[in-house]
Point group: none
DNA sequence: TATGAATGAGAATTCATTCAT
DNA sequence: GATGAATGAATTCTCATTCAT
């Protein structure tokens, strides 16, 4: 049985772009963008295999064949989504300079109302797989980068012989972020499901401090 | 493109039962069990939609049609897997009496070599969806139960007016467990990927203490 | 979609034989008979392709594999049914000596409550096909025989040069019989659906007289 | 064993439309029509269950998937066929004003060479069932309408207290039509099998007069 | 003789993708 | 650039039949 989200689209709100095609030139970029947005949501919430290219095209309000035109294939589209998400997260990782910022970063990628998200589906999509080798590696690469960045904020250095302990702890912090994301994607679990940024920040501060301070 | 695991099976090791078919009369239970085991692994690692009934049958070494015979449909099989996992987890939840036990419980469901698992794929499968309403509810029900149990170990009571804070923190602990699981399912992230139970227990103790003590 | 009759059996009444297996010897014949009865009804009402060997076995209350044991195949079973029906009808045809008997013969094979029939499904089954060449010929052979017999009662002789007219009229009489059967098999058409033998005899007398007298 | 007609198609003659596809844009209606034609023949002659969607698509010379595109399912296609047939027959029923016309109407729907038919398979298809409740009702509805129309031509009125007798006789007339159809569908029964319209009209006149005049 | 287990062929349907306009 | 039409490769499921007890 297909997910009920198939007809309605997982998050039909905030179509991101309702403006008419700006001209002849530029219409392509706009269509590409619409598809990318829809795909990202679908892939994130329903997973790669459960998502139909028709779902995506319908959400975007464009013809299915354009997916192949602009992205060569369903998998090409997935890769494009992944690339976009990774870019965002690499950027976010760079902003992590010290431990105090970590809770905030996590919260900004996991909290918020599901429907209004956009950047909120990033972590979720990162966990999805199309089964393709290349995207698998992109994913792993980012995870590594991100956890090293978190560890670095706690004093970790690549050549530190005893650094594995710290890196492991950083990856546990990362785990919380992903854990929150997957649990929030599974509806009905309160109070986590509708926790606000404020609700989460306090506990996360405790958590980060416990895991990453003086170890 | 299909997942590369399609041919090899995600983890074909430890078939759990290599014994020869016990006569023929009465072999039904064994066959059913083989299918359940294979399905559980496949669904957990590849997801519902990406898993083919043929994959499952081949892993189990039996004919595809038997899936329909014993479980009515692919979805029936998924539901059976989910039920089994939920039973295990409900049992695990019951053993949680005080905070000290929590790290151990988490570790026992998240660590261990991927290939040797069995109970280790429980959390992962719990996150998978077939899109069916009923299984969705089973999942949510368990998540609620489990988080309440964790909170209770920290002193939470259902009628406590300010208990939501504690329940939220318990759900964050649960998040870590799921987060570890999904990150370990994504191969290549070291040191988390091959962390042993000992490696994880210490940090988790800090984490549980920070989140659930005196709040 | 399968016919709703699949679970309930088209006519579960009058199992024809509820007696316990008489001995070891003789059990075979009884089982064979049970299967033949069930098959006949199923084939007649649902058609060959829509009927499942499991439907038949379940109706008869015996194991499916026995169909192959006793009749070699589904088609063998169908052929056996057809043969039985043909035997009955050949016998009926022989009793037709003059025109007055024809309405009665028709009525006895078309009227009666659907559920209680037995000989009433004969004509219906005769119209069913398994697609096999041989059964097709058996069917045609009987139809020929029967219509010649009807024509003979009206004075037709095989070598009569102008006899075709009369034979055609006899086949129209046969048509009525089959027409009544198929219309009665399609439920809800009143008053034909529940017409009694008395209701039908009068009109049929008029019909036979009009078609077969002095031409 | 499958019907021998499976490979050859029941009556592949007169494809109704040999014209080349009219451009490509807008070819949908033509394809739909081709499928409808093939389906009608197949369903009428082989029955619903014995007919394969691939048979139909091959007869029509188009891809199988288009059946689902245009009719949603095999059953949807059957329903479309039934609807078309019913429309034709309702139209035919309306033309019946007095008794003299009845033989002609019957003849026009039952005679003619099998291969050249088109409207000739209407009655046959009407007797076929997919097992679906809804189509069953459509069928019964038409049968009722049609027989009332025949009865009306003989003076029957809906509120006539003794009208059942007349209605029953009208349904016997209908029976002849269906009887002729099913007997002609079963090949090899001469002279009925190749009787022309002229051959049938005379006897049918006698029959209608005997059944429907002054009763 | 009877039965539950197992199998392989075939059926309907879905879906990503390509083609022609 | 965009679209409706068409295709072929899967995928799930059903079913007649065979096997071993």
């Amino acid at each position: 049985m297909k997910a009920s989200s198939s007809q309605a689209g997982p998050v039909p709100l905030t179509p991101t772009d309702n403006s008419p095609p700006p001209s002849r030139r530029g219409a392509a970029a706009r269509t590409r963008g619409l598809l990318l947005d829809s795909a990202r949501r679908r892939f994130a919430y329903d997973g790669y295999a459960a998502t139909t290219v028709r779902d995506i095209a319908d959400d975007a309000g464009v013809n299915v064949a354009l997916i192949n035109r602009y992205f060569r294939s369903k998998e090409g589209l997935f890769e494009a989504c992944l690339k976009a998400v990774i870019d965002e997260l690499v950027h976010a990782a760079r902003t992590v300079a010290d431990l105090e910022q970590i809770p905030e970063i996590i919260v900004s990628h996991t909290a918020g109302v599901l429907a209004v998200d956009g950047p909120r589906d990033a972590l979720l999509l990162l966990l999805r797989s199309s089964g393709d080798e290349r995207t698998e590696q992109m994913r792993t690469g980012l995870l590594r980068t991100f956890s090293e960045r978190l560890a670095a904020a706690a004093g970790w250095r690549p050549d530190d012989p005893t650094g594995d302990q710290l890196l492991l702890r950083a990856q546990l912090v990362l785990s919380v972020a992903f854990g929150i994301t997957v649990l929030r994607a599974s509806p009905g679990l309160e109070p986590l499901g509708s926790a606000t940024e404020q609700d989460l920040t306090g506990p996360l501060r405790d958590l980060v401090e416990a895991l990453l301070t003086r170890h």
